[in-house]
Amino acid sequence: MGVPELSIGQYYPGHSLLHRLDPRPKLIFVFIYVILIFFANNAASLLWMGSIVLGALAISRIPPTVLLKGMKPVFWLLLLLAAMHLFLTREGPVLFRWGWFAVYDEGARQAVIISARLLFLISISSLLTYTTRPMDLTFGLEKLFAPLKRFRVPVGELSLMMSIALRFIPTLMEEADKIMKAQMARGADFESRNLASRARSLLPLLVPLFVSSFHRAEDLAMAMEARGYRGEEGRTRFRQLAMRRADWFMLLAALPVSLILFLLRTW
């Protein structure tokens, strides 16, 4: 009952090495990893990329069940993608035939590769958000994109917008949970199976949620102005980021990871 728990993108508190790292090298490493994963095209290279996820998971000391639970929503997407490759690719020798329906060698190979890539990709990015506070993440992004300021991209404002959005996700969830409970106490049924009546039943939840969000936005704008916010220009930071040895190590780790991958993959 209540609002389903959002586990993708949620911070999972801890004190591991990964938690303590500077967000910038983590972001860059994940970015490189995400590109590299599309070069992994055989068993050896996939195993190598998988072992990196497992290693990161071990260092983060996040319970594997947490990661698996967070994957639940994407599990069906994974299955669908795998099934499409399995059934729709018609290349190579036939592995298996049943009436009009056949599985080809290339299809099976594609299904495995695609689902493994997607699985690793989601795992590594989940690990990033599990081990990095949303505020640190946006601050890291802001720093990384800072050079774009020269081209008049409002990097600071964009990052502030992102932090505010992230900041209010839990608040909105809590609010939604409260309103949902209040309406359930009045006999509202949010668990109806019928799609049309289910959509209609969301109205008592969405209308109050929108009303309160607008109020909240107005209050926030007022409070920010009262505290002297005048845009990002000339704004300083209380918290500063500093690269330490472990942070440089994390950044440089991308090098051997890519090298080994390129040695293992089939060209």
Partner: protein, 285 residues
């Protein structure tokens, strides 16, 4: 409908880093037709406790029985239960969503599947109970004042004709007059409609003035439950729970330090007024 709570324990998000024990072995009996105030510091488990009374939360361990309906960690008939137990949340006006007051108040009865005539009747009755004028029925709830909106929300719960009314800080954020009106309204519902009233409140004065029974919560556990006299006799327990005696009682205690013949410990302003007047008459002032 008596309410029986037995060894109720509730744990939020068990098995994760966010695990938190909100209620621990709470046992409590609330007789049908009584007026109970639940007091406690922020985070003492008051809200968690009352959410068990209409099945919005399920016990992690223990059980809650309301009349013949039992709520345990297993599935049970909640739709039935919610018809009898009306729940008014904090800032209930935040749950209004319909275009007109009438439609909003009718939401609950309609969900119960009542015939149209009965729905209309209960809406009228509820609007009258909370003291709103009939002209308001066609207005948008968002165009009303804060106090009026709260009444509309209250009417929305009353229209379902509950036997038990649970209120989570019903006067929060209202001005003094609005507070008095809402509290007087709840008292009337208790006396005239014979509703069982369970009210969570921060105000020891309101608890002393209106409740027949007071339940004090501390860190998820039941600290003490009893009549106002019994509870306020244990000042040290209240202080330990981060609470204080009602203001009139504190005034009497300070006065008594300077008086030769002490005044009896009064819990409400009215009582205190009577005592002081009697004293003045006796001493011939």
């Amino acid at each position: 409908m008596d309410i029986i709570i037995q060894e109720l324990t509730h744990i939020y998000k068990p098995g994760t880093a966010f695990e938190r024990i909100a209620l621990k072995d709470v046992s409590l009996k609330i007789a049908s037709g009584s007026y109970v105030a639940i007091v406690g510091h922020t985070g003492s488990g008051k809200s968690t406790l009352i959410q068990h009374l209409n099945g919005l939360l399920r016990p992690t361990r223990g059980r809650v029985q309301i009349g013949q309906i039992e709520i345990t960690s297993q599935k049970s008939n909640l739709q039935q239960l919610r018809r009898f137990v009306g729940m008014v949340f904090q800032y209930p006006e935040h749950q209004l969503f319909e275009e007109t007051v009438e439609k909003d108040v009718a939401f609950g009865p309609k969900q119960l599947g009542w015939p149209e005539e009965l729905v209309r009747q209960s809406v009228m009755q509820a609007i009258e109970l909370v003291g709103l004028k009939r002209e308001m029925l066609t207005r948008s709830p968002f165009a009303l004042s804060g106090g009026e909106r709260r009444r509309v929300a209250l009417a929305g719960v009353l229209a379902m004709r509950p036997k038990i009314l649970i209120l989570d800080e019903p006067t929060a954020g209202l001005d003094p007059r609005g507070r008095q009106e809402i509290l007087a309204l709840i008292k009337r519902l208790h006396q005239e409609e014979r509703l069982t009233v369970i009210m969570v409140t921060h105000s020891m004065e309101d608890a002393a003035r209106y409740a027949e029974q007071i339940v004090v919560m501390k860190e998820g556990q039941l600290l003490i439950a009893g009549t106002p006299e019994e509870v306020f006799a244990r000042e040290e327990l209240l202080l330990a729970a981060g609470l204080a005696l009602p203001e009139p009682a504190r005034l009497v205690k300070e006065l008594n330090e300077r008086l030769a013949t002490p005044l009896p410990l009064c819990m409400t302003v009215d009582e205190l007024e009577k005592e002081i007047l009697a004293r003045l008459v006796k001493e011939g002032v």
